[in-house]
């Protein structure tokens, strides 16, 4: 069970009850607003950050992320978006107060660090900019039961990573705690497939998202390639004869190679063009950018295997590279 103790705490100033405090925490008394420090032995500070975005804003942020991209019009339309899920994910928070040896005497600075305390498959928590997120909204004492009624609250399962020494500074104090940060998960079903977007619950920044690519976006390319090959195959035979004659005018051996090689190159380009237009694509994006990725594409397609075979054959003919080539 999540660390939750049935301890009734009250404010030493006004006597007001402090509901939901189940660990060490820095809280303001809900009655008299006094700043209080609650110390529960052996349980570090547990805090949570309230999301700045509500459900509708999370969906709107996802729509805004895909705006301007070639996604189907029905994607993220009303009715296809599922109820967004709010997640609370724990982060280890450690603040080290360091003493810097300045000329004018020691100066103290706080060096905070945040690291995910849980691993959730498919959710890249390492992409969450935890520092702004942890300070974006006032913190609350972590009340697991209250949060679980409206969100999925994950328990910490990973140990806090060890921190590197800070050069030129002496750590005089270290405070460790856990802070639960909000993440929105927006899911949309489109053409029987599921697409997700994970958003920072405080800023709306997309941590990771996928969306289908409008398949008609590839139609101009498909028409272009088809017509190129229609021209190659449909042009008069006499043109081919003239081309071969031209090759042999240049050089007898080169002409022979080009006569055999031209149809090979044409077929190879045809295969690559087919590879390009036959797959569906989808967009995958995060705060760094958006990429296009093929769907249901094998690691290497047939034209790529043939190409790699040619390169392997060329390497075999040339022999193993010597040391100088390897270094270069």
């Amino acid at each position: 069970m999540t660390a939750a103790r049935a301890t009734a705490l009250s404010c030493p100033r006004c006597g007001g009850r402090l509901h939901g405090v189940a660990s060490s925490a820095l809280v303001d008394c809900p009655s008299c607003d006094s700043p209080l420090a609650v110390l529960v032995p052996d349980i570090p500070v547990h805090e949570s950050v309230r999301p700045s975005l509500d459900r509708e804003e999370a969906v709107a942020a996802t729509r805004a992320f895909w705006e301007g991209r070639k996604v189907p019009r029905s994607f993220l339309a009303e009715g296809s978006v599922e109820e967004p899920i709010l997640l609370y994910v724990p982060f280890h928070e450690r603040v080290r107060t360091c003493s810097l040896r300045a000329n004018e005497g020691p100066a103290f600075v706080d060096r905070p660090s945040l690291a995910p305390a849980v691993r959730i498959p498919g959710l890249p928590l390492e992409k969450l900019d935890a520092f702004p997120a942890s300070g974006a909204a006032p913190r609350e004492a972590f009340d697991a039961a209250a949060l679980q009624r409206r969100a999925l609250v994950f328990d910490p399962t990973l140990e806090a990573p060890s921190l590197a020494a800070i050069s030129g500074a002496v750590v005089v104090e270290e405070r460790a705690g856990l802070v639960w940060l909000p993440v929105w998960l927006v899911r949309c079903r489109h053409a029987r497939n599921l697409y997700e977007a994970a958003l920072d619950g405080t800023s709306g920044t997309v941590l990771q998202a996928r969306a289908p690519m409008e398949r008609t976006a590839l139609l101009p390319e498909a028409i272009f390639f088809t017509y190129v090959f229609a021209f190659v195959f449909g042009m008069p035979l006499s043109w081919w004869v003239k081309l071969v004659a031209f090759y042999f005018e240049l050089h007898w051996f080169g002409g022979l190679v080009l006569t055999v090689g031209t149809p090979g190159v044409v077929f190879w380009v045809l295969a690559f063009a087919w590879d390009r237009v036959r797959f569906r694509y989808e967009w995958t994006g995060d705060r760094l950018g958006v990429r296009r990725e093929p769907v249901n594409r094998p690691g290497r397609t047939l034209p790529e295997k043939i190409r790699d075979g040619f390169f392997a054959a060329a390497r075999w003919i040339n022999g193993p590279p010597d040391e100088t080539e390897k270094k270069s």
């Binding site: 069970m1 999540t2 939750a4 189907p72 029905s74 899920i85 997640l87 959730i120 498959p121 498919g122 697991a144 039961a145 209250a146 949060l147 679980q148 009624r149 409206r150 999925l152 609250v153 994950f154 328990d155 998960l185 899911r187 489109h190 053409a191 029987r192 497939n193 599921l194 997700e196 398949r215 008609t216 139609l219 498909a222 028409i223 088809t226 017509y227 090959f229 229609a230 021209f231 195959f233 449909g234 042009m235 008069p236 237009v277 036959r278 569906r280 989808e282 769907v295 249901n296 594409r297 094998p298 690691g299």
Partner: protein, 247 residues
């Protein structure tokens, strides 16, 4: 089931406790036995009946239903127990965070229920309950009546087109809980698209040959075919893709 059986101290018979709570009744001598550790015995679990071979059959059917035609690679299965709060009316609420995409369609699996004791799962992972009754979004009376039920799942991990996927099949009835759906193959659309491209290619070859006087028809007929075929291909392909999306 040896780890779950109890020994009656009065008559010496071994039996499985299938009652809820801290007590059990010996089926031979009808002795009322106190079993200790009340909190754990208040839990129940469903008895798994699906073995690994059956679950692989379920996976094949699940993929086929989703129109995923490729064969999954590197298939690995394991048994795990996941806790749910069983509310009045047989509603299930996960007692730990669960990100399954079709949780709303998951119903209480039918099957035998027995008392749950720690260690009864053997080597299978028992996911600990982290949501207390107070964390259930329901009224106080419903929370009071909530019972913890450990549902056995056969987790299947597999690789398809370079991506990893996970599906859980409840080991009592075989309902699927999926976490990330493999994309559909859409073979029907692909075949239609290929046929349309072939038709466009044929029209293109005819148009080019006509342009250069290879068919006997006037050159402008070739130009018309080339222009018209592209437009028709565009319109039909768009229509087919829209139909496929709306299906």
């Amino acid at each position: 089931m040896t780890g779950e059986s109890l020994l009656c101290p009065r008559c010496g018979i071994r039996f499985d406790a299938d009652e809820e709570g801290a007590f059990a009744t010996c089926p031979a001598c009808a002795s009322r036995l106190h079993l200790g550790d009340e909190e754990e015995l208040a839990h129940q679990k469903l008895v798994p009946v699906l073995d690994e071979a059956a679950v692989l059959g379920r996976l094949a059917r699940w993929l086929r239903d989703r129109e995923v035609l490729a064969d999954p690679k590197e298939v690995v299965t394991r048994l795990l127990w996941f806790p749910f709060w069983l509310l009045p009316g047989d509603a299930l609420v996960p007692a730990a965070p669960l990100l399954a995409s079709n949780l709303g369609a998951f119903h209480l699996p039918a099957g035998d229920r027995v008392a749950f004791r720690r260690g009864a799962g053997g080597s299978a992972e028992v996911v600990p309950a982290s949501v207390p009754p107070a964390g259930i979004e329901a009224d106080e009376e419903t929370r009071r009546e909530a019972k913890l039920l450990h549902v056995p799942f056969r987790e299947v991990r597999f690789r398809l087109w370079g991506h990893d996927y996970t599906v859980w099949f409840d080991a009592a009835t075989g309902q699927a809980l999926d976490f990330d759906l493999p994309p559909t193959s859409e073979r029907r659309l692909d075949v239609t698209y290929a046929l349309l491209l072939l038709a466009l290619f044929a029209a293109g070859v005819y148009g080019v040959r006509t342009l250069f006087g290879g068919t006997g028809a006037p050159w402008w007929a070739g130009a018309v075919v080339l222009a018209g075929a592209g437009v028709v291909f565009w319109a039909v392909a768009r229509l087919v893709m829209r139909l496929s999306e709306s299906r």
